[in-house]
Symmetry: C2
Subunit: 386 residues, 2 copies
């Protein structure tokens, strides 16, 4: 097992009908900014429940945060906070609203004149000392942003992963019933995103980290068990609850502690979203299978473990078992309605080179857990994924 | 899945050779009290490493905290803190030192004249608002106290479980190499204690909490895989690291979130420790198998799941599979050198009634996840465990 630090102070409030507890967790007398996305929280009554729970607080609102939230949108919210001396932000939505709110929380305390400077530190801590505290009400399980300190912000043609210890929400409300009204496509994307978050912390090389491996496998098994069911029966509380809790646990630091990690699929996928505006989860599904095939020698031991423990594949040569496990993964994504080939989208084969160029210009020239997934390898992965 | 709250702000620093980082986590200029037990931390050099890491801090020390720490011992440490205006406590040891330190942390801020009043709230939050902050360097994996807000304090003939949100350590250092010098018996006790912590949050009745179940099973499988190995090869880093991390994860709130819990075995076991001074882990091992047999109707679904997923037992009638799983559990404890019968200790059968009387006088008259494990049932469990 590798050395690690684990620290995660977000207070999770999980379950149905608990929004009335919001007032006990928002600081007394705070001026509260509610951040949200396209307005479905108003359409389905969540906004009303929240403002009712927060009676007596002075409430501001900032809607219109887009999927893949834009820096310029966030800056507007930050300025609103500065102008009104707002003390607390309540993010209501999915990963995009959470991620935007994280950036807003530090931008609102930023006194310089170059907001873009805050997104250019990669996953090193952003050098800021203060943030407006925030909590969340999650409506879309997928990114894990509700219980981690990461965010991804889009600006011009780039997607910027950022990190700060100030980015842990003070609290997150996880109410599975708030997800009942989600479009099926978003649920499918969320399941795939969660699945691949786990894979990227799990299918690397073995370091004898048994709790982490078993827990990762437990999440994968659960997603396979409940994926289609929660897609097709959105109001089945328990399957939705299991999906929601797995999504949070997949990316809150737990299964990634003390193990190598390989975020190549995410890095490559981000470039597809930036260029073609394809949903994040879908970009991952079209890259991962080909990446696993390309890297099967590096990942052999964990791929075999994955085959056996997640898919119960124990017969045949190593190569056959690995290929069977990758095919099961593809079939699972396909059953959720998520394509696993780049050619399933309106992308020309010649455009794959543009993705490689984007990676190069963003400095993503040596990805993976071993740092040797170079651009020529990426190009081969993409060609085979087409 | 049941509704739940999950909150755990302890910062874990896991791995070898990291004690030099202590100075970055102890508050600057703090006067630090180091609490410890019987002195093995001095014998094996840990104390020296810690004081070296804390050069420049004013250090006090309080040793001699006994297993099953006594209220009166803790009060002495609290008075030392008051007299010297100490700002921070560093607990160095296992569960007893941690548990004592938790009580000390609030007793040192207590201004009343009845220290016993602080231990009489059961697992309701102790009504105090302030504690001396503390961190820990763990040397014995077992109780999970390094990452939870519980403590057990002994006073006169009783053991008192207590709880406060102030009881989360600010940080805990988990260095597997610090456990290499532990007596074999203590390691065996720790493995059994960890195993049974998991069982008490897992073998109850099903509520479709899949992440929690899979994670619980993962810890149990890991303990079975590495138990004997870490007992017999104390300096095998990875097995010791896996044991240490499992022990922490077994009782930090994670696997118990959203599921019923049955702490009967602990409650009954405490009375054996109070009366006969038998090691905590050992009291659990002699109660659990009989309790599972007695309660197999209430726990049937989870016992069958346990049989299948932990022990790979899938053949035969329900009764046979359950009995086989319980026998595997006994054999596992026995292989660790831990007895599973009360008659293996110097206890007369007539004395079992005293245990039941103790439970009664401590109000433990309706234990279990369903609240129907009454004293007559307990008596039968004990008779069958003899």
């Amino acid at each position: 097992m590798l050395n690690f630090n684990f620290y995660n102070p977000t207070h999770i409030v999980f379950g149905k009908d608990r929004l009335s507890e919001l007032a006990t967790l928002v600081p007394k007398n705070a001026k509260v900014l509610i951040t949200y996305g396209g307005g479905s929280i108003k359409k389905f009554g969540t906004f009303d429940k929240i403002t009712e729970a927060l009676q007596g607080f002075e409430i501001f609102e900032f809607g219109g945060i887009e999927p893949n939230p834009q820096l310029n949108t966030c800056i507007k919210a930050a300025e609103l906070i500065k102008e009104n001396n707002i003390d607390f932000i309540l993010a209501v939505g999915g990963g995009s609203v959470l991620d935007a709110t994280k950036y807003i929380s530090i931008a609102a305390k930023y006194e310089g004149d170059d907001y873009t400077s805050l997104i250019k530190h990669g996953f090193s801590p952003i050098p800021v000392e203060e943030a407006v505290p925030f909590g969340s009400v999650l409506t879309l399980p997928a990114t894990g942003s509700e219980m981690n300190a990461f965010s991804v912000i889009s600006h011009e043609t780039g997607k910027y992963g950022i990190y700060s210890p100030l980015f842990y929400p003070k609290f997150s409300f996880l109410d599975p019933t708030l997800t009942y009204t989600l479009p099926k496509k978003q649920v499918a994307n969320g399941i795939v995103d969660t699945f691949i978050h786990v894979v990227e912390q799990y299918i690397t090389f073995p370091v004898d980290a048994r709790f982490q491996d078993r827990t990762a496998e437990g999440i994968l098994q659960t997603l396979v068990e409940i994926g289609e069911q929660t897609l097709n029966n959105p109001e089945d509380y328990d399957t939705r609850a299991n999906f929601m809790w797995c999504a949070t646990m997949a990316l809150n630091g737990l299964i990634g502690s003390g193990v190598p990690q390989d975020w190549s699929t995410h890095m490559i996928g981000h470039e597809f979203t930036a260029k073609f505006n394809i949903d994040h989860g879908r970009t991952l599904a079209m890259v991962l299978p080909s990446l696993l095939r390309e890297r099967k020698d590096k990942k052999e031991a964990k791929l075999l473990q994955y085959a056996e423990r997640v898919w119960n594949i124990t017969e045949g040569t190593s190569d056959k078992r690995i290929e069977a496990a990758i095919q099961e993964t593809e079939k699972f994504f396909n059953r959720l309605g998520v394509a696993t080939k780049i050619s399933d989208y309106e992308i020309q084969k010649e455009e794959l080179k543009d993705i490689v160029s984007q990676l190069e210009s963003n400095g993503m020239v040596a990805l993976s857990e071993t740092g040797d997934l170079t651009l020529d390898v990426t190009e081969r992965i993409l060609e085979n994924a087409y």
